[in-house]
């Protein structure tokens, strides 16, 4: 048994900066010889160690004491081992000394690792965290580029610059993921190569050793630029996860400055082409009237015409919705005053519904037509125009709050439902609407005007029956 002289100083030279097993072996021996932490210097290849190590007359293993034959067991907690393995990969030259000090302390205080407020414990945790982050960034930011090897086999080569000694430790991750590819990861701290069967290591590489591009990168950059939503710009969040120091090795990162610079314009364009900002919903029917007079949200508003507002009591239990104003409505500025309106009045009267007690309006507020000489020929509004004008119809609905809504024709039904329905399928049955009102759908009276003979009679009967059903329903509701 060799006596350890107090005051002696030991230097341990590690063969590799990431050789945890070697450190562990030596650390165990030193503890068994009772060498206190301040008497050991740990020197990694290329490192100078601390003052003592530099001064030492002879460097190296020769000076290490030999463990006594019946040496005591050295113990450490699972947690320590877990952290130490990772912390040993950190590039901090003081890491092995720190780990030894902690191992030393664990011998007299087995629970020392549990004290999270302890400075050594905290430092080891910091090292572990930094190494794990570095490994995580390596998993994420390695970008392979293809080179053709002889025989046409593809070889995937990446360049990466880790902060810590993680390359060897992370080889397994890439092997498990790309088991059936030939690949190399080149780094300034050493390289790893996999040929589908064996792992090989080689010394440090330079950036120029790695290929400069890959034909797929252009596609990848297109993807990167397109998946970004300019309306959600959050540069800080991106930078905290993908710090600038990694950018130079990420082919897509070159796009970032332009994407950020252009985001506002793209967002503005999204809003612009996103339809028209209709402003807030007006709070009174008069305000709706003023707003539609100014509205140019769809192309119909650009024609020479005037907006036609609905009319009727502000608290009408029944709301009747037509398609759009016609030529005469446009001239007079009132809904349902042309031929179709007169026909509607007749049928309403026969059904016993007082038009004066209903709120009568249209799904589209402006008259859509094509000029034919002096005449203006009615044109049906497109689905998109109805959907746009729905904003105003909903504003009227919100204010009048009718119990029952009668939609005349498919356009009116779309204005209320947001989808196109077939009249023959939905007529005669009420449909619940958001907010509690119920919707009845029937044909538009102008449809009757276009029919003759039997067909007209048949449709007229259906129309009358629909109105009668609405009348009955209103009575039921006590409205």
């Amino acid at each position: 048994m060799q006596n350890v002289s107090l005051g002696a100083h030991y230097v341990v030279n590690l063969p590799e900066p990431d050789d945890f097993a070697f450190w562990r072996e030596r650390a165990r021996g030193l503890i068994q010889c009772d060498v206190p932490p301040d008497r050991v210097s740990w020197v990694e290849p290329g490192g100078t160690g601390d003052l003592f190590a530099a001064e030492g007359p002879s460097r190296g293993e020769r000076r290490l004491p030999v463990s006594p034959e019946y040496a005591r067991e050295v113990r450490a907690s699972k947690r320590f081992l877990q952290l130490a393995r990772k912390a040993a990969l950190h590039s901090d030259p003081a890491r092995f000394g720190l780990l030894y000090r902690m191992l030393w302390r664990l011998q007299s205080n087995p629970r020392a690792m549990e004290d999270k407020a302890d400075a050594d414990v905290r430092r080891i945790e910091e090292l572990d965290k930094a190494v794990r982050r570095d490994a995580h960034k390596m998993h994420a930011f390695v970008r392979f580029r293809v080179v053709e090897a002889e025989g046409g086999a593809e070889h995937y080569v990446a360049w990466f610059e880790p902060d810590h000694h993680i390359v060897r430790a992370e080889a397994g991750f890439f092997m498990r993921r790309f088991a059936n590819m030939n690949w190399s990861i080149l780094t300034p701290r050493g390289c790893i190569h996999w040929d589908g069967e064996t792992m090989r290591e080689s010394g440090p590489a330079r950036r120029g050793d790695a290929p400069g591009g890959d034909p797929v990168e252009e596609l990848w950059r297109s993807y990167y630029a397109s998946i970004f939503n300019p309306a959600r710009l959050k540069v800080g969040a991106m930078l905290s996860e993908m710090p600038r120091k990694y950018w130079k090795n990420l082919p897509e990162a070159a796009l970032i400055p332009d994407l950020i610079a252009g985001a506002q314009a793209r967002e503005a364009q999204m809003v612009e082409t996103g339809g028209k900002d209709m402003g807030d919903k007006p709070g009174t029917l008069d305000a709706v009237g003023e707003a539609i007079a100014r509205c140019r949200a769809c192309p119909i508003g650009e024609l020479e015409n005037r907006a036609v507002m609905g009319e009727g009591p502000r608290t009408a239990p029944l709301m009747i919705v037509g398609e759009q104003p016609g030529d005469q409505e446009d001239v007079k500025g009132r809904p349902f005053v042309g031929p179709a309106g007169q026909l509607l009045d007749e049928y309403l009267e026969r059904a016993g519904i007082d038009r004066g007690e209903a709120y009568v309006t249209n799904a589209v507020k402006h008259f859509k037509y094509v000029p034919r000489g002096k005449r203006r020929l009615h044109q049906s509004p497109a689905a998109k125009e109805i959907d746009t004008c729905r904003w105003w119809l909903e504003a009227e609905r919100d204010l009048v709050k009718p119990r029952v809504i009668l939609a005349l024709g498919a356009s009116a039904a779309r204005g209320l439902l947001g989808r196109t329905v077939s009249i023959s399928k939905v007529r005669g049955e009420p449909m619940p609407l958001e907010g509690g009102a119920e919707l009845w759908v029937t044909a538009h009276p102008s449809y009757l005007l276009r029919l003759d003979g039997d067909a007209r009679e048949k449709q007229a009967a259906l129309f009358a029956a629909d109105l009668a059903a609405v009348k009955e329903r209103l009575a039921e509701l006590g409205a």
């Binding site: 969040a237 999204m270 949200a297």
Partner: protein, 413 residues
Amino acid sequence: MAQQLSLRQKLEILADAAKYDASCASSGTAKKNSVGGKGVGSTEGMGICHAYAPDGRCISLLKILLTNHCIFDCHYCINRKSSNVARARFTPQEVADLTLSFYRRNYIEGLFLSSGIVKSANHTMDQLIEAARILREEHDFRGYIHLKTIPEADAELIHEAGLYADRVSINVELPTDSGLTRLAPDKNARQIEGAMDRTKSRILQAKDERKRFRHAPRFAPAGQSTQMIVGADGASDVDIMGRASALYGNFGLRRVYYSAFSPIPDASAVLPLKRPPLIREHRLYQSDWLMRFYGYAPGEVAQAAEADGNLPLDIDPKLAWALKFRERFPVDVNRASREELLRVPGLGTKAVAKILAARRHRTLRLDDLARLTQSIAKVRPFLVAADWRPTRLTDRADLRSLLAPRQEQLELF
């Protein structure tokens, strides 16, 4: 038909159309790797974000649509029938090839494939499945696959999707039925829930079978998720949280994603046209965390909301809750239970774990706390420490068991 689009043009259109979907996670699936196989791919539990976009969102999957043609006309959706956007369509083979070329270069963790509805729901679902099948069967791809299923498709097809995918999702789209009726008139809330319910049963059944037969096929091992759009309709935060907690409860969802409604080109006028409510989205995610990791009941998170049913935007929901229930504070860091500490604004789950561990060794003082938490200023008003007492100390004498240190058995070094 217009001239042929290049693969790159299609990718631009179909990635652009996918950017409104919030889900991106590639975590929590069964572990697999390509050792012993013929293809590439691995999943090791934690998903990896391979890049971040300037919107701060992680890019871990190739997130694209198979096509943005759609027979539906949902107002909030850029792909709706009546929208004027450029349309494109990938073949399943193209999707598989793109996924592989990106994966082999380590750009992505896998594929997240969704689609507009073309021809019919079943036809669309068939195509989605075909892309996944090519990847799994022809290329032995072992990376992550997330398929968005079409609720209107046959149950058998959704089942098939789950056999190839790590995760399946079915979007509920809007938090309330009335919002759905108004903005997605072609969709049906009951149908969506029916599909979720069937998926849930399949997942449970497959898990059960795997317990008994090691080689029973996996079915969506990363579970199912959904997305709700926030700010397109009038639903309040309380409505949204209520819906989310019902979804977690009823359908065993892994995640509910919230997507702040952002202006879409060629949108319908029934939608609000403004910047997406990102802070609101953030507050909803925070409330989600409180329910999933901090032991808050859904009703409790709702108590943090203001009279209009919305969470305050200027403070986080945990602080909002604490300010409403001031009588529950301060709590004593040296004696309080885990549950109580978790309620302290500014203390995360990790800080609480550290406090619990550290206090077995010492009585914590304010400067100890400063080392264990992110910001001492934020937590100080809610805590009592050995040398700190903002107001009266709440008396708790029954915490011995919590304070008693657990002895850890040391192992041979």
